[in-house]
C-alpha cells in the first residue's frame, strides 16, 4: 500500500495541477494578508474560498485521477498485490498531495506574515485543519463514485452532483425546512442538520472561532456551548472523521467485489 501511495504522490507531483492548486492558495492568502489589515477579514474571505473550492477541486481531482490511472491500476491488479492496497494507496496518494497543497498554500503565508499582523493563530489553524479534512472527505467520496461508475461521464456527473448537493442543495433544503417549521423550536434540528453536512460543519467550526459568531444569537450560543469546548470539538472532528471513514469502507468493499 505504501508503495502504491508513493508512486501516486510522485505521479501527482509531476503534474502541474498540484503546483497550480498550491500556488493559487499561496498567492490568494498572501495577497489577502498584504491588502487587508484586519486578520479576521482575511480568515473570512479565505474561509469562503476554502469552503467552496477545496471540496470542488478535491472532487474533480479524485475522479480525474481514478479514470486517468485506470490502466495503471489494471496493470497493478495483474500483480500479486491486494486490491484494497492498490485503491487505498491511490486514494491516500491523492489525499496526501491535496492536503499538503492546502497546508502549504495557506500555511506558508501565515509563517511569512504572522509577524506583521496580530493574527490569532488558533483561528487560522482551524481554517487549515478544516481545509485538510474537506480535501480528505471529498476526494474519498469522489474516488468511491468513480469506482462505482464504469462510464467516465456518469462518474464525473455524479461526483459533481455530490459536490453541488453538499455545497448548495443541502443548504437550500435546510433553509426550506427551517422556514417551513419556523413555529417550532428548531435549535436542535439546526444543530443536527449542520453536523450532517461536512461543509456546513466546517463553516460553523470556523465561524464559532470568529467575532461574527455573536450574530448567530441564541442558536449560535447553543452551538458554541456544544462545540466551543474540548468535548464538542472532539464530537465535531469525529463526525468529520466519520465522513472520511465511511467512503473509505465503501472503497474497500466496492474494490473487492468489482469486476475489472
Amino acid at each position: 500500500m505504501r508503495k502504491v501511495m508513493k508512486y501516486t504522490v510522485i505521479d501527482l507531483l509531476r503534474s502541474r495541477w498540484t503546483y497550480f492548486y498550491c500556488g493559487f492558495f499561496f498567492i490568494l492568502s498572501g495577497l489577502l494578508f498584504l491588502l487587508s489589515n484586519d486578520p479576521s477579514q482575511v480568515i473570512i474571505t479565505l474561509m469562503n474560498v476554502v469552503l467552496i473550492l477545496v471540496p470542488l477541486i478535491s472532487t474533480i481531482f479524485g475522479v480525474m485521477y481514478y479514470y486517468n490511472s485506470r490502466e495503471f491500476a489494471e496493470l497493478l491488479l495483474a500483480q500479486p498485490i491486494k486490491r484494497t492496497d492498490i485503491f487505498l494507496g491511490q486514494y491516500l496518494g491523492i489525499a496526501c498531495s491535496l492536503s499538503f497543497s492546502i497546508a502549504l498554500g495557506i500555511g506558508l503565508p501565515l509563517l511569512i506574515f504572522s509577524s506583521i499582523s496580530d493574527l490569532s493563530i488558533g483561528n487560522y489553524l482551524m481554517l487549515i485543519v478544516t481545509g485538510i479534512f474537506l480535501s480528505l472527505i471529498f476526494s474519498a467520496i469522489s474516488f468511491l463514485t468513480a469506482l462505482l461508475f464504469e462510464n467516465k461521464l456518469k462518474g464525473f456527473g455524479a461526483s459533481i452532483f455530490i459536490w453541488l448537493f453538499f455545497a448548495i442543495i443541502y443548504d437550500a433544503l435546510f433553509l426550506i425546512a427551517l422556514s417551513f417549521f419556523s413555529d417550532y423550536p428548531l435549535e436542535n434540528f439546526a444543530l443536527f442538520a449542520s453536523i450532517g453536512n461536512p461543509i456546513d460543519l466546517s463553516r460553523i467550526l470556523i465561524i464559532l472561532k470568529l467575532d461574527i459568531s455573536a450574530l448567530m444569537g441564541y442558536t449560535g450560543a447553543l452551538f458554541s456551548k456544544l462545540m466551543g469546548n474540548f468535548n464538542g470539538m472532539l464530537v465535531a472532528f469525529s463526525v468529520l472523521m466519520a465522513w472520511i471513514i465511511i467512503p473509505l469502507v465503501g472503497i474497500v468493499r466496492v474494490s473487492l467485489k468489482k469486476d475489472f
Binding site: I52, L178, I212, A214, L215, M216, G217
Partner: protein, 410 residues
C-alpha cells in the same frame, strides 16, 4: 441653565465673604471629618488632608464645601454608605471614596444626595463602590470630572455608577465610569445634560434613560458595555456626537430605543457593535449624519415604528445594514450612503440612478426564522442574496432608498 450659574456664583460669593477653612488631618485641631462637620456652619470649607478616614456614614446637613487635599481616602470598609448630603449648596471635591460594599437590601452608595439642590460634585475618585453617586430628588447640580471605577461581577449584585432618580437640571460631564451595572442611570430625570463622559466595561448599559424627558447627551464614549445606551419610555431626547464602540456580544447593542418619541440622533459613530441601533416602538425619530461601520446589524427595527427618518447616514461594511419586519410603513430611508450599493450614476449628480434595497433576502429570512442564522456565509445564502438583488420579490417594497448617495458623506 442661567439660573443654575447665577446660584453657583451666589454661593461662591457667599463662601468667599464669610468662609472659614476648617482643616482635618492627623495633627490638625480636627482629626475626624465628623467633628469638623459638626463645628462647621453654612459657607465653610472643610479641607481634608491626606490620610485614611474610616468614620462610617457621614451626614452633611449644611451648605458647606468638602475639599480633599492630596487625595484623602474615605473608606466605607465594605459595610457603609460614605457621604450622605441632605443640604442645598454643597460642594464635594478631590476625595477618594472607596469600599462601599454590596447590599441586597439597600441601595448603598459612596455619595448620596437627597433633596438637595445647587450642588457640585467634582473631581472625586470612587473605587469599589456599590452605587457610585446617587442623586435622589435633587435639582440644579453638576457632577463632573469624577472617576468611578467599580468591581461589578454580575448584574444581580452590582449597582450603577451615577444614579439619578427624580432629578431636574443636572449636568453630568467628563466623568469616567466603568465596571458597574449601568454606567449612568436616569430615572424620571428631566432637562439634564450628559456630555464628555466615558462609560465602559459596564455589565448592562453605558447610559440608561427611563421615563426621562427633554434630556440631551453628547460627545460621550460608550465602549465595551453590555449595551451602549438604552433609551426607554422617554420623550425628546437629543443624542449627538457620541461614539458607540465595540459593544459586542450575543445580546449587545450600541443604542437601544424602546417606546420613545421625538428624538434626534445625529453625528454619532456606531462602530463594531453587534447591533448598532435596536429600535422597538419608536416614533418620530430622525437619524442623520451618523456613521455605521463594521456592525453586525447597523439598524435592527422591530415592530411599532412610525415616522422615522433615516437620511444622510453612512452604512459601511456592516454584515447587515438593516433588518425590518415585513409590514413596516411610514418610515423613510432615502438619501444614505450604502457601501453595499451596486447601482450606477449616469448623470453624475452623485445620486445613484437605481433605488437601493438595504434589506437582503437572507436578512428577511433570518427575521422570520432566527435559527436560519446558522447558514450565515454559506454559498447558498450568497446565491439567493444575489438573485434577490437582481430581481427583488420577497424583500419589502417600502424599504428602499430612492436616492442613494454614491459617495460616503464623511
Amino acid at each position: 441653565m442661567g439660573r443654575v450659574v447665577l446660584t453657583f456664583i451666589f454661593i461662591f460669593i457667599c463662601s468667599v465673604s464669610n468662609a472659614e477653612i476648617i482643616k482635618v488631618c492627623a495633627t490638625c485641631n480636627f482629626t475626624t471629618i465628623s467633628s469638623a462637620i459638626n463645628n462647621a456652619s453654612a459657607g465653610d470649607v472643610i479641607e481634608i488632608h491626606q490620610g485614611v478616614y474610616t468614620e462610617g456614614n457621614l451626614l452633611i446637613d449644611k451648605a458647606i464645601s468638602v475639599v480633599g487635599v492630596d487625595w484623602p481616602i474615605l473608606d466605607g470598609q465594605n459595610e457603609n454608605e460614605i457621604l450622605t448630603i441632605i443640604s442645598d449648596g454643597v460642594r464635594v471635591e478631590g476625595l477618594i471614596l472607596r469600599n462601599v460594599g454590596t447590599s441586597y437590601l439597600e441601595d448603598r452608595s459612596a455619595l448620596r444626595l437627597r433633596n438637595s439642590s445647587d450642588f457640585i460634585i467634582k473631581n472625586n475618585r470612587l473605587e469599589n463602590a456599590f452605587f457610585g453617586i446617587y442623586l435622589e430628588r435633587s435639582n440644579n447640580g453638576i457632577v463632573a470630572d469624577n472617576r468611578i471605577i467599580g468591581e461589578a461581577v454580575d448584574e444581580m449584585s452590582s449597582g450603577n455608577g451615577i444614579h439619578l432618580w427624580y432629578c431636574k437640571n443636572i449636568e453630568v460631564s467628563n466623568n469616567i465610569v466603568s465596571s458597574h451595572r449601568d454606567g449612568i442611570y436616569f430615572e424620571f430625570v428631566d432637562n439634564s445634560k450628559v456630555h464628555g463622559n466615558i462609560s465602559e466595561h459596564n455589565l448592562r448599559y453605558g447610559l440608561h434613560f427611563m421615563f426621562s424627558n427633554f434630556d440631551e447627551y453628547f460627545q460621550n464614549t460608550f465602549r465595551d458595555n453590555g449595551a451602549g445606551v438604552a433609551v426607554m419610555f422617554s420623550k425628546k431626547i437629543d443624542m449627538y456626537d457620541n461614539l458607540f464602540e465595540n459593544n459586542w456580544g450575543k445580546s449587545s447593542y450600541g443604542l437601544l430605543l424602546k417606546e420613545i418619541y421625538d428624538a434626534e440622533i445625529t453625528n454619532n459613530k456606531f462602530i463594531k457593535n453587534t447591533i448598532g441601533v435596536y429600535v422597538e416602538g419608536s416614533t418620530r425619530i430622525n437619524y442623520s449624519a451618523n456613521i455605521f461601520k463594521n456592525n453586525g446589524w447597523a439598524i435592527k427595527v422591530r415592530g411599532g415604528c412610525l415616522d422615522n427618518f433615516i437620511s444622510g447616514n453612512d452604512f459601511i461594511s456592516n454584515t447587515f445594514d438593516l433588518s425590518v419586519p415585513s409590514n413596516i410603513e411610514g418610515n423613510s430611508f432615502d438619501g444614505n450612503y450604502w457601501s453595499e450599493y451596486k447601482g450606477y450614476d449616469l448623470d453624475k449628480d452623485g445620486i445613484g440612478d437605481v433605488p437601493h434595497r438595504p434589506v437582503k433576502l437572507f436578512n428577511f429570512i433570518v427575521f422570520k426564522t432566527p435559527e436560519a442564522m446558522v447558514l450565515l456565509r454559506s454559498l447558498f445564502v450568497e446565491l439567493i442574496n444575489i438573485t434577490e438583488r437582481v430581481s427583488p420579490v420577497f424583500t419589502p417594497k417600502n424599504v428602499t432608498d430612492n436616492s442613494p448617495s454614491m459617495k460616503s458623506f464623511f
